[in-house]
């Protein structure tokens, strides 16, 4: 029941974060704390979700918050490494239509 969030690459305008483990009601606040400041500092935030084993609506809420924050200042949130489960979750909730998703890491 753990979540880890690690910085992978960074430039002045963009950052890639690797999220691993479970994002639920208990761990989502940690993700929010790490992510929200970055949405104010960077133009592009890439989230590598390849090793996310579980995510529910609390995790999606964090993604939506980050998306809104980035968009409000002309930036973008990009999700990479989506599993079939995660893709399904984003599809059901309508987020596939909104958040940028790219293949590979």
């Amino acid at each position: 029941m753990n979540l880890t969030i690690q910085e992978k690459t960074q430039s002045d305008t963009a950052i890639t974060m690797v999220v691993s483990g479970e994002v639920d009601a208990y761990t989502a606040p940690q993700l929010r704390e790490k992510l929200m400041p970055l949405t104010k500092q960077k133009q592009e935030v890439f989230l590598d979700l390849t090793t996310v084993e579980y995510m529910d609506s609390t995790g999606l809420g964090v993604l939506i918050g980050a998306y809104k924050s980035l968009r409000a200042q002309g930036g973008r949130l990009v999700l990479i490494g989506m599993s079939a489960r995660l893709s399904r979750l984003l599809k059901i909730t309508g987020l596939t239509e909104i958040i940028d998703i790219e293949d590979g890491a």
């Binding site: 029941m1 529910d56 609506s57 999606l60 964090v62 809104k68 489960r85 059901i92 909730t93 309508g94």
Partner: protein, 162 residues
Amino acid sequence: MVEPYKDLIELAIPAKAQYVGVVRLTVSGIANRMGFHYDDIEDMKLALAEACTNAVDHAYSGQEGQIAVSFFIFEDRLAIRVSDEGNSFDISSVKQRSGPIDKDLPLTSMRERGLGLHLMETLMDRVEINGGRGVIVTMTKFIHRDEVEQDVDSPEKTKSHG
């Protein structure tokens, strides 16, 4: 009335976010034992976590409380009841706000919460929500046996050859 369940497993957790993971592990174990497929198990984990997270968030307004989770095991399905004894809510108004995110809405009105009920209804075969002293959510998922299996030689037939 419906036929009686075969077995009943009951669990009570404190209404705290850190214990929702325990409920997920429990349903995963039970559903696995019943013969559900991987994707259906993952669906149930998610739907049940949403129900429990709602109870954690709304039921006791920051006060201590318990969430009771009952797993009713039937031959062909698993029915899970999540109940709390905390604050009830206006079920019809919540249902009206439930649904996927609308991409045509302006950024500021995009919801960050409220996707839980929509997920429960999409991922389970049946979801009932009742208010009373608290909130009772009952969700059911049927075991989808492989249709392919019927085309394959039945175990009896195989055995008679051996």
